[in-house]
């Protein structure tokens, strides 16, 4: 500024000093150039100011959008043209003459709506966040690389590219994404690129594989081998079995109890300890472990629902199929809805941006949906070194390590090089360099997702499936993460199969615990249960199939199926379905939005009975007790009782599991249904005793103290909030993928919680809801998700579906046989 004043002063200075003035002009120009360079550079996380505010280059440009709704365009593809018709919701309906062009246009349309998300998630999976957000992502990047997400993706890519069809799918899709990227000028980049100052990379089949392995990590890395090993050692088998029961009761598995298995177990191997193949009894390690990266694992409350009811139970006399996968909800949304149509294929549903084809959807003949199998597909082994740590104990000798050298590029800094020791089973993930583990506590991990597989082929097959045989044929290619694939068709068949390549486990030491690497039985580890022997049922007598992340089978199944299972949602769903007849699509929507808290229904009466009410005479306590007593156990948005109950239950959990709060040993809390059953049926359970006191507490004392703490909690809460209503208390939020509050939606008016069919919690929930009704002989589909089709926060379609989703309503999805039909429908709604 002082510069400015001095030059104004200069105007009147000297008439003849033209030269001086010219020189000053040059000086000013130089200053300007410096200013421009300065304004064109990002500083830390602040974007380049000049560029960012330029109305034709920066953020204003992103607000200057033409919405896709009710528009269409023709796209030059590989062989010919494809037509993309966006309907009134911004759902692309894509029509082409052949599959290559169809997938090319799908890639193009996905990129049009979600390019940043596709780029971001695949960078995340590849352990490359440091490149864009700097050193703070180093631990995260190292974790994803060490556990092997990029390694698994590389093998997956190779396996997919060996298959002619998969290769065509991936290459066409990739070409479509890249066609969009190539046409995109810098000023039209999605806002997140501008904010963080980087550019989209070219797409590739490898990136599709990264996306699939990202999902595999998300859906299997709740593994708790470390925590369970510690619990077993600290509490002994009797208490351990109560905390993590292998057979939840009451029993309500995916495959109805009593279903006969018409096959013989292939497990003819001699049991551990017989010495064959060098395998030894898996000795229990003597150490207690600390997992420094528990916060990078997936939570154990991941879940999803799916079910199908047969025509015998529906008003239309044909099946209805439903699916709502629960994931951490995000903006841009996890899912995008699309219709893909070419000769021989007409499929619609939800897919994940970056994935070709449809993942949960329907075609003219069948419908299918997915929930997570929750099986344990990770084994953890303790490593024993030779003297200079270049080899590990294996059987009676030592094997040399190989090394996976990872070069991590960091924005604004030197590269970080992480050299990871590799064994026959997998990487030594936790060691002195990662987690600062003492030598005798280093752990190697085997992860099923690292085996080569072509999971894409399964979805390709489902997209094309015409009948039940096609469905089964498609599934055999699907390996990891294990999913429960529900099925229904227009010919009145319903089915469900838990599909994945699961490790063959029949013995103790089944993968739930850390075992010595030296004794690992490689043959056994890599052998899988034959896919045709996976849990499966077709047209069961009860007239419906369902799954909600519970244990897949009863004890008659000849293999171990250990995992982290839910045992509440499944029982609500099965109870409703068993007692329903003459079902209409709307009834199924109501079930997806069902807010019954079975946890409260089964636990609250016992909790209230333990409570000595005479001790609580203050207004708030009396109000809380009264509210809870008159509650019907439905966790609805405007009720106060769910806030009181869930806070109270949480306090009970805090007091009960105080033994698990160690800072030096990693432990994991049992599922809520476990605590519920202990409270009701086993009030003398050892862990109800609090370590902080000398007296011996039981459920009663714990419940009482927890109530006092709950009253204290709400006394403080109500000083800052108007009321304790459930919706405000739980504050359902759909977060932006990069955790930017400004692009997130908070305080959504919706009920539900973990372990409720409507599993909408604070950040997690039904990320896609679909109901497909074959009542008219053709599929009539309803769908919705907590977000919108367009990933641009400035778009009307960014989060437009959220209010309707929150009120348990759906959009009827337009599913067109021909381009002309779609075009006509678009013109009618304009």
């Amino acid at each position: 500024m002082s510069l400015l004043f001095s030059c104004i002063h200069l105007f009147n200075f000297d008439v003849t000093s033209t030269m001086k003035r010219n020189l000053f002009g040059i000086l000013l120009s130089l200053v300007l150039i410096v200013l421009i360079i300065f304004l064109g550079r990002p500083f830390g996380s602040t974007p380049a100011i000049g560029k960012f505010f330029s109305p034709m280059h920066g953020f204003w440009k992103n607000a200057d959008i033409k919405e896709f709704n009710n528009t269409s365009f023709e796209l030059d593809c590989i062989h010919g043209k494809a037509t993309v018709i966006y309907d009134s919701l911004g759902i692309p309906h894509i029509f082409a003459d052949n599959e290559a062009d169809l997938l090319y246009a799908q890639g193009y349309a996905e990129a049009q709506n979600r390019l940043w998300q596709m780029d971001f998630i695949t960078r995340f999976a590849a352990g490359r966040m440091c490149e864009v957000i700097g050193e703070k992502a180093l631990e995260l990047d190292r974790f994803n690389r060490r556990i092997g997400v990029p390694r698994a993706a590389k093998k997956c890519e190779e396996a997919m590219m060996k298959d002619e069809t998969s290769k065509m799918v991936l290459e066409s899709f990739t070409a479509g994404v890249n066609a969009y990227i190539d046409r995109l000028s810098a000023k039209d980049l999605p806002i997140e690129f501008k904010l963080m100052g980087y550019k989209p990379e070219q797409w590739s089949p490898y990136k599709c594989a990264l996306l699939m392995k990202y999902m595999a990590k998300d859906l299997t890395y709740y593994d708790a081998d470390i925590e369970r090993t510690n619990a077993m050692r600290m509490f002994g088998k009797e208490v351990y079995d109560k905390m993590y029961p292998e057979n939840p009761s009451p029993e309500d598995p995916i495959i109805p109890v009593g279903t006969k298995w018409n096959f013989k177990s292939v497990d003819t191997l001699p049991p551990f300890g017989s010495g064959a193949g060098g395998a030894q009894t898996p000795a229990q390690p003597t150490a207690l472990y600390k997992n420094p990266f528990q916060h990078l694992m997936s939570p154990t409350f991941l879940g999803s629902n799916n079910w199908a009811v047969s025509g015998s139970k529906t008003a239309g006399g044909k099946p209805i199929l439903c699916n709502d996968p629960h994931l951490q909800m995000s903006l841009p949304s996890i899912w995008i809805i699309m219709q893909l149509n070419c000769p021989g294929l007409n499929v619609m549903g939800a897919t994940i941006p970056g994935a070709p084809g449809i993942i949960s959807g329907f075609n003219e003949n069948i419908a299918w949906g997915v929930t997570n199998a929750e099986r344990d597909v990770i084994n953890t082994f303790s490593v024993e070194y030779n003297g200079d740590k270049t080899a590990y104990k294996w059987r009676d000798g030592f094997e040399d390590f190989t090394y996976d050298v990872q070069v991590i590029k960091i924005k604004g800094q030197n590269d970080f090089i992480d050299s990871v020791r590799m064994t026959k089973v997998g990487a030594v993930v936790y060691d002195e360099n990662f987690g600062k583990m003492a030598d005798q506590k280093h752990l190697a991990v085997y992860w099923r997702a690292e085996e080569p597989s072509n999971d894409l082929k399964a979805f390709y097959g489902l997209d094309h499936a015409k009948n039940h045989e096609d469905y089964l044929n498609a599934l055999q290619y699907y390996s990891c993460p294990g999913q429960n694939f529900v099925y229904a068709d227009k010919d009145n068949n319903i089915a469900i199969r838990q599909q994945g390549y699961f490790m063959l486990r029949t013995q103790e030491g089944d993968g739930s615990f850390i075992t010595p690497l030296a004794n690992a039985d490689l043959y056994r580890l890599k052998q899988m249960i034959p896919v045709e022997q996976n849990p499966y049922v077709l047209n069961p007598e009860r007239g419906f199939v369902s799954s909600a992340n519970q244990k897949p089978v009863d004890n008659s199944y000849p293999y171990l199926t250990n995992g982290v299972y839910e045992n509440l949602r499944n029982r609500v769903i099965n109870n409703v379905l068993a007692n329903s007849a003459n079902i209409k699509a709307r009834d199924m929507m109501n079930l997806q939005g069902n807010n019954l808290s079975l946890l409260a229904k089964e636990t609250l009466p016992a909790m209230l009975a333990y409570l000595d009410e005479t001790l609580y005479t203050d207004e708030l306590s009396k109000k809380m007790i009264q509210t809870l007593k008159s509650w019907n156990y439905y966790a609805e948005a405007n009720k106060e009782a769910p806030s009181f109950f869930y806070q109270w239950f949480e306090q009970v959990a805090n007091l009960t599991w105080d033994e698990l709060d160690s800072k030096t040993v990693s432990l994991i809390r049992p599922q809520p249904y476990v605590l519920s059953q202990l409270l009701v049926n086993d009030p003398q359970f050892k862990l109800f005793d609090r370590i902080a006191t000398d007296t011996a507490e039981t459920a009663k004392e714990v419940v009482d103290l927890a109530f006092k703490k709950t009253v204290e909690y709400f006394t403080a809460y109500l000083e800052e909030h108007d009321n304790p209503k459930w919706k405000g208390y739980k504050n359902t939020t759909v977060q932006h993928l990069a955790r930017l509050d400004a692009f997130s939606i908070k305080g959504i008016n919706i009920g539900g919680w973990h372990n409720i069919v409507n599993a909408t919690s604070d950040f997690w929930g039904p990320s896609w809801r679909m109901v497909v009704d074959f009542g008219s002989g053709k599929p009539t589909a309803y769908g919705i998700y907590p977000g919108g089709q367009n990933g641009n926060p400035a778009s009307k379609n960014y989060s437009n579906m959220i209010p309707l989703w929150a009120s348990n309503n759906y959009y009827t999805l337009g599913f067109y046989s021909t381009k002309e039909e779609a075009m006509k429908s678009m013109n009618n709604t304009q």
Binding site: D14, V15, R21, L32, W60
Partner: protein, 134 residues
């Protein structure tokens, strides 16, 4: 003349912006300054006005069309990271300010570089201009 300069800066920055990066607004004002080289102060105001109107006007037009939806989000983004309260209006003001500074200084710099002193000599002769020497 002043009005012509202002309009020229406005139109040229618009045209250049279509093909060039964000700093094209400075380039446009600078080029106009070179052509009308004799009145640096006058040029500053013309450049500031031309570029300012363009940046502010275009941003404002987009903002209205988008119903302030997105500018509100970006304002919140700045508010969150700077721990202050920034509104859409502040974003528009920053946009206008950047346009004014870039346009004004560039137009003036252009004027000064090619200034041959003719106008002031003329003014001096006709007595319209008085010489002050410190």
């Amino acid at each position: 003349m002043f009005l012509i300069k202002t309009i020229l800066v406005l139109v040229l920055s618009f045209l250049l912006t279509l093909f060039l990066p964000w700093w094209s607004v400075a380039l446009a004002a600078f080029l106009v300054g070179l052509v009308f080289a004799n009145k640096p102060g006058n040029n500053f105001i013309a450049g500031a006005l031309g570029a300012g109107i363009f940046w502010f006007g275009y941003a404002f037009y987009i903002d209205i069309k988008n119903e302030h939806r997105f500018s509100g989000m970006i304002a919140q983004l700045f508010s969150d990271s700077l721990q202050t309260n920034i509104s859409s209006a502040v974003l528009l003001m920053i946009t206008a300010f950047l346009g004014i500074i870039l346009g004004g200084l560039s137009c003036m710099a252009g004027a000064m570089i090619l200034d041959n002193g003719i106008r002031r000599k003329k003014a001096f002769k006709t007595g319209k201009y008085t010489l002050k020497i410190k």
